[in-house]
Point group: C2
Chain length 327, copies 2
């Protein structure tokens, strides 16, 4: 659950109301970090929960159920990557419509188990209940490193880096919404890989890190807000997958800066980063608060586009809003 | 997630399909117990997840949102009581309809925080997303004792015991469904208390234990199935709250044997149980498989009434089916 010092988006006030109450509760000494980062830290573990709801976060028509379930579990596991943690288990709460056919359960189990196994985690428990639509709520846990990656350590002068090409998944979602079902960008949306190895490789190197779930600017604003700094990024330096410019057309800037659900890592580092890491420097942390984008004519202040998790899922039309609906 | 060797109810086949796949995954050595009991055991912790969905597990008209949220969190915490564990934290995944008013978030947070604080747990994290209806998915964790209470330890000759009066909550739900909003039985449904102290007091005394969520016979059948034994219970010995017989009328037997959601503990013990514990002996574990109920004329074999979590929530009518819709 993210905090009140984030860029203003429609549901932030709701999260702030919840968090204000929860932060007043006493905590067991085993709790090292509660709400506010990608995962909580307690008992030497990193713990996080993530949700995927039919017609809010995905449509069944996008892909086979097993792939959608694998994606949901991988999205949850990504929060452990963002802390540099090593997954060991997950708990799955499934809501399914009353008339869901038995074969769906095989597909859901296969997808979740595949993601868990790839991450080294086991499905430890779960809950099955009737719901108004299919939803997968995945709680993940893993061993926390001694000094986990956190959002609040970015300092002026640090480089800003990303793994992968963070706009590609959003372009894939836009294609899915437009009715396409295959292609390299759709594969990027459908098959995110939690960057577990990268997260561990960044321990001791990154000053701050988080995963990119809601869009580069919005997530960067959360990191700079938590760290009490600002940032300037260079639009041209954001990596794009092959064919991105042609496929994205006029939406390129919006997809690169606002497109979510890539589950790549965003991190900051004082110097160079470990050489085997496929990461790209896209900007620099500033002392001055706020976010700036340099599109070629110098730094230009920006306000992250509001990412309203309570807005309707966009209609399946060519004009689809590419941004994902993820919390 | 409960297992395949349980009494036959409509969704058991679905759970078995999920579990069959999950049980094939490799497990980290830190995982001591995965699917099949009230909670998983890993990293010295007990972990469980529970779900409460609007119009499946509760109606908003039943009570203020804060009370419904407190109840949802307490139901989840009950799984830790059933293992003799000591709660330290919970993660809350909230789905809320798009137009949910801001005040609802205060109420939801207050209810969950109240339950967490009463149990000594802190809200460690969460997820907020739009859903088709209000739902609360609560993952709970706590310190596991050295030898946690489990379902599979019941042996022939052990006494069968319950805390509290396990039919009272189901009677309360029936009253709620019939349009009533106040009364002692409704209070029992609305304000379950996870039996955390009782669970800890039973460590070293109980041979098996679980919480009563789906009904006495169904849950007892799960325990005897896991333990490879049978059981006989005496109907007259099942405790009833004051006024139960008059209020329940002809439904008494069904409520006592099949009524769910009391979150009392069901346990077995070889000899006496710790004296401060408010528990009542209701029967005896047998070597012969199957369940028998002695209603005064000797043991009579019974098959637990099917508890179909996928059936429709009953209409708010006097003929309402009292049984809860909980997994």
């Amino acid at each position: 659950m993210s905090g009140a010092d984030e860029p203003e988006v429609a549901e932030d006030a709701r999260i702030a109301r919840l968090r204000a109450r929860f932060d007043r509760s006493p905590r067991d000494p085993a709790v090292a970090l509660a709400i506010g980062d990608d995962a909580a830290l307690a008992h030497g573990l990193a713990l996080s929960v993530d949700v995927a709801v039919e017609d809010v976060h995905f449509r069944r028509s996008f892909a086979p159920l097993a792939a959608l379930a694998e994606r949901a579990a991988n999205a949850a596991l990504s929060d452990l990557a963002a802390m540099g943690a090593t997954p060991t288990g997950l708990l799955l709460a499934l809501l399914v419509p009353r008339d869901e056919p038995p074969a769906s359960f095989d597909a859901l189990a296969e997808g979740v188990a595949k993601a868990a196994e790839a991450a080294g985690a086991a499905v430890l428990g779960g809950n099955l209940s009737r719901g108004h639509a299919l939803s997968l709520t995945t709680t993940v846990l893993g061993r926390a490193p001694e000094s986990p990656l956190r959002r609040d350590g970015a300092r002026p002068g640090d480089g800003i880096w990303v793994t992968g090409a963070p706009g590609d998944a959003a372009l894939g979602l836009a294609r899915l919404m437009a009715g396409e079902r295959e292609g390299p960008f759709i594969a990027r949306w459908l098959h995110p890989r939690p960057r577990l190895g990268a997260g561990r490789a960044l321990l001791g190197h990154a000053s701050a890190a988080m995963d990119l779930s809601d869009g580069l600017l919005l997530d960067l604003g959360r990191m700079t807000g938590a760290s009490g700094v600002g940032a300037t990024i260079r639009l041209a330096d954001i990596p794009r997958g092959p064919g991105f410019a042609a496929a994205a057309g006029a939406d390129a800037r919006a997809l690169l800066l606002g497109g979510g659900e890539s589950y790549e890592l965003l991190f900051t580092a004082r110097g160079d980063v470990p050489s085997p890491l496929e990461a790209t420097r896209i900007g620099t942390i500033d002392a001055a608060p706020g976010l700036r984008v340099d599109a070629g004519a110098g730094p230009d202040p920006v306000v992250p586009a509001g990412h309203d998790h309570f807005s309707a899922f966009p209609p399946a039309a060519p004009s689809a809003r590419p941004k994902a609906e993820r919390e």
